[in-house]
Amino acid sequence: MEVTSDIYRVYEQHREPMMRLALRLLGDSEEANDVVSDVFAHIVETPAAIRDNAASYMLSSVRNRCLNLLRHKRLSERVHKLLPIGEDMVEEPQIDETEDVLDAMLQFVDTELTPQTREVVRLRFQEQMSYREISTRLGISEVAVYKHLVQAISRLKERFNP
């Protein structure tokens, strides 16, 4: 596969945001890797497609390929992995804006939730532990785990998605 150094340079420049977007949407590094590779392979074959705004083109390509992949997954599988379940949940990749929201959510978790609730949230969403594992780790009942999550998600929804 022969490419120009220009294309390679453009790819190197945008590789990281492309991977970040794919990882966010798919939650799986292997799948994200494949999507980004496919986009690059397409660009190599049709370099004229990039035209003016390379960043926007590449990120939109990643978004569309991820959406295609998600459509082929069963709804219950997507829900189980907390993946987007519709196009409306996958905004056009205006990276700065979305990144700000994500940062703000983490700050909210750190500052606005009680220590116990914060810990439950981190174990569930960061460590991806099951409710049973969380209840064992923290020495609380599974019902209590549910209650903490309900509280946290309700408050986050009120603040970020009213």
Partner: protein, 208 residues
Amino acid sequence: MDKLELLLNMIEHPENYTEQEVHELLSDDDVRKHYEVMVLLREAFAKETGESILPESSKIQMAETRNTRMIVLNTSLRKIAAMFIAAVLISGLAYAAYRVLSPIKAPQLTEATTPSLTGKAGGGSSMSDSVVCFPDTRLDSILTIVCSYYGRELCFVDTTLREMRLFTSWNRNESLAEYIGTLNVFDGLHLTDERDTVFVDSVDGEEE
């Protein structure tokens, strides 16, 4: 259980719900908004833990030759490996299915092909000619000989039984049904004679 708790339960135990039930719950606007927040929260933590840092395999290797630059993508190696493994598994399964479902044709029985047969002591009598001892012999070897004698095909439903080793004797004057009865006494063995084929299967250990 309120809707949000139901959603949490659905996420944790998807096996307990149908696609329709998941779809119906997420059609509720309020539930959907909660779900969207959870997706963002997952993304936020993924970003924080640095999962967005590119794995080594995603990097493009650039190799320069004398006159041209060749770019090799190595990101599809896992895809290729997965396809290869799938192909091997499928062909292996196909072969296994063929072996299980194809009855084994028992070879013609001749004295020369039965080096493991030993007659009972007392040489020359018809009794010694009719009783065959199988000392620590594989079951598939035993049954190949026996089935051939009675004109039956042989089929191992449980292929692991082929390697079972038995110390047993066979009286060629008895019927096949009698000999099968003898073998069925052994723990874990269940032989049947149906449609000119001896089927060999395992038993789960329940007493009759």
